[in-house]
């Protein structure tokens, strides 16, 4: 059975136009491809430092 209070908590205020700029700037755009590229770079760096030693 639907509980009004519980259901009401699922509704959130919509973004207003004044908040759009902040929302765009604060959006985390990091994707899996970024993480992968980061990991590959770290891997290369660690491999390079081992070779130096």
């Amino acid at each position: 059975m639907i509980n009004f209070e519980d259901e009401l908590k699922k509704f959130h205020p919509s973004l207003e136009i004044e908040e759009a700029e902040d929302a765009i700037y604060n959006q985390d755009l990091t994707d899996i491809a970024d993480l992968l590229v980061g990991l590959v770079k770290e891997d290369k760096e660690s491999a390079g430092s081992k070779e130096e030693k």
Partner: protein, 474 residues
């Protein structure tokens, strides 16, 4: 697909032919992102907008640079009334690909139509206000506010759902079902809509079967007992699509073959749908413009007619005034009648001066100025015929009144005596006396001055001068 390391176009190899970077995993990620984009596109086509949002967001988590997915996500957000979220996606998309990007058109469509943008903005503000009313417990106010929101933006899914929830809370099941059906028409796969709809439908079915009005504890008991029935069936129905989607997701290898075809379809879809939306909007805008122009034309016509009416009223008033001059108490027609009666009376009996004089008295001196030349000629002729005798009659009666110290009557008769015969200097002189005795100094001086002017070198003039001097000293 381009290399993440050097930006060169990748081949079928698992390494970049330009820089040698290992791109096997990267290609896998991008392929999976494309797959999710295709899923999102499929869902959007069948109006499963919630499902489309989920797939597209996952796609963008894997590959943020998938501009098509981002544009489609914006379009879906816009369709469910979340226009700020839509704008966010389009702006980011525009930054990722500044040229040849359909997001440009979407943003322009909104920016070029500030009225529409304002309506959407108002709808969002009112929705947030309604939600705030709900938290405060002012549910009636929330319902009113949500109705306003939906009149501004009928595609606002969240508003439909919240309004339905308020109706459910108030046990207005029919209204709730109506709102949920509207929400479902926009987004068929929204789980909140489906869940509320199943609950509402369940209650309405029970009402139909049992034939008793809903509400109260008894209703809640029955409702709870039947949850395993229709609710479960609807829930299964509504979740069948996601399950199927998961199955298709497992068939990645097969779908990879179809990716090329899907991309083609996707491009066609992204080009055709916005054009249709744009055409529909243009049609609505044109209709609104035409209606506005018609309204302006009608308003101008009304203003013009009002001015005409005003002019017509002014002319009518003017004509009425002119008519009054002719037929009024002192009008030309009345004067004409009086003159004809006087002439008629004189021709009948020239001796009956009194009757002729009465008729002539009815003619106002001011009216004489506006009459014709022939009228004035006849009037003056008649006056010359009877003037002296009538003047003598009025002079006698005036002097009697003067001697009896009835100065008002004396002034009246002596004025007439002088007006009928301008050579009757005694009448004018005694008129001056009557004015003086009655205390009307101004008229007395004027009359004496007239005596001095009209009858110089007479005793009357000398006396008049003395009186004038006395009165001026006083």
């Amino acid at each position: 697909m381009i290399c993440y390391n050097c930006g060169a176009t990748l081949t079928h190899n698992d390494f970049c032919t330009n820089c040698g970077a290992d791109v096997a995993r990267y290609k896998k990620i991008v392929s999976t992102a494309n797959l999710l984009y295709n899923e999102g596109l499929d869902k959007a086509r069948v109006r499963d907008l919630s499902g489309a949002i989920e797939s597209l967001r996952q796609c963008l988590k894997l590959d943020k640079s998938n501009v098509d997915a981002r544009n489609l996500l914006g379009l879906v957000y816009f369709e469910i009334g979340e226009y700020v979220l839509a704008l966010n996606e389009w702006v980011i998309s525009k930054n990722l690909r500044p040229s040849k990007n359909i997001a440009d058109d979407y943003i322009s469509l909104l920016q070029d139509n500030p009225n529409k943008l304002d309506v959407y903005s108002q709808a969002v503000k009112k929705f947030n206000q309604a939600l705030s009313y709900c938290y405060q417990g002012s549910l009636d106010l929330a319902v009113i506010q949500l109705k306003k929101v939906l009149s501004l933006n009928p595609k606002y899914v969240q508003a439909h759902q919240l309004l339905a929830l308020l109706y459910i809370n108030d046990e207005q099941w029919e209204d709730a079902r109506r709102e949920l059906n509207r929400a479902q028409k926009i987004d068929v796969g929204n789980t909140i809509t489906l869940r509320y709809l199943a609950e509402t439908q369940n209650i309405l079915d029970m009402d139909d079967d049992a034939g008793y009005p809903g509400g109260g504890i008894e209703l809640k008991g029955k409702r709870g007992a039947s949850e395993g029935g229709r609710l479960k069936k609807d829930a299964v129905d509504s979740y069948s699509s996601p399950v199927l989607r998961k199955e298709t997701k497992t068939a990645t290898t097969v779908l990879n073959v179809a990716i090329g075809i899907m991309i083609g379809i996707a491009v066609a879809y992204l080009l055709i749908l916005p054009a249709r939306i744009s055409a529909a909007r243009e049609g609505v805008d044109e209709n609104l413009k035409a209606a506005g122009e018609q309204l302006d034309a009608k308003t101008a016509q009304i203003t013009s007619l009002e001015q005409d009416l005003k002019i017509a009223n002014t002319q009518a008033d003017k004509l009425k005034e002119e008519l009054e001059v002719y037929i009024g108490e002192n009008g030309t027609m009345t004067a004409m009648d009086s003159l004809l009666s006087a002439v008629n009376s004189y021709l009948d009996n020239p001796e009956d001066m009194q009757t002729v004089a009465e008729y002539l008295d009815q003619i106002d001196e001011a009216t004489l100025e506006s009459t014709s030349e022939s009228f004035t000629t006849v009037y003056n002729l008649l006056l010359s015929k009877i003037g002296t005798d009538v003047s003598a009659g009025y002079y006698d009666s005036g002097m009697k009144a003067y001697q009896s110290e009835m100065y008002e009557d004396a002034i009246k008769d002596l004025t007439k005596a002088y007006s009928y015969d301008n050579s009757n200097g005694d009448a004018l002189y005694n008129l001056g006396n009557a004015y003086r005795k009655s205390g009307d100094i101004v008229n007395a001086i004027d009359t004496y001055n007239k005596v001095i002017e009209e009858f110089p070198d007479t005793e009357m003039a000398t006396r008049s001068q003395q009186y004038v001097n006395e009165l001026n000293v006083d």
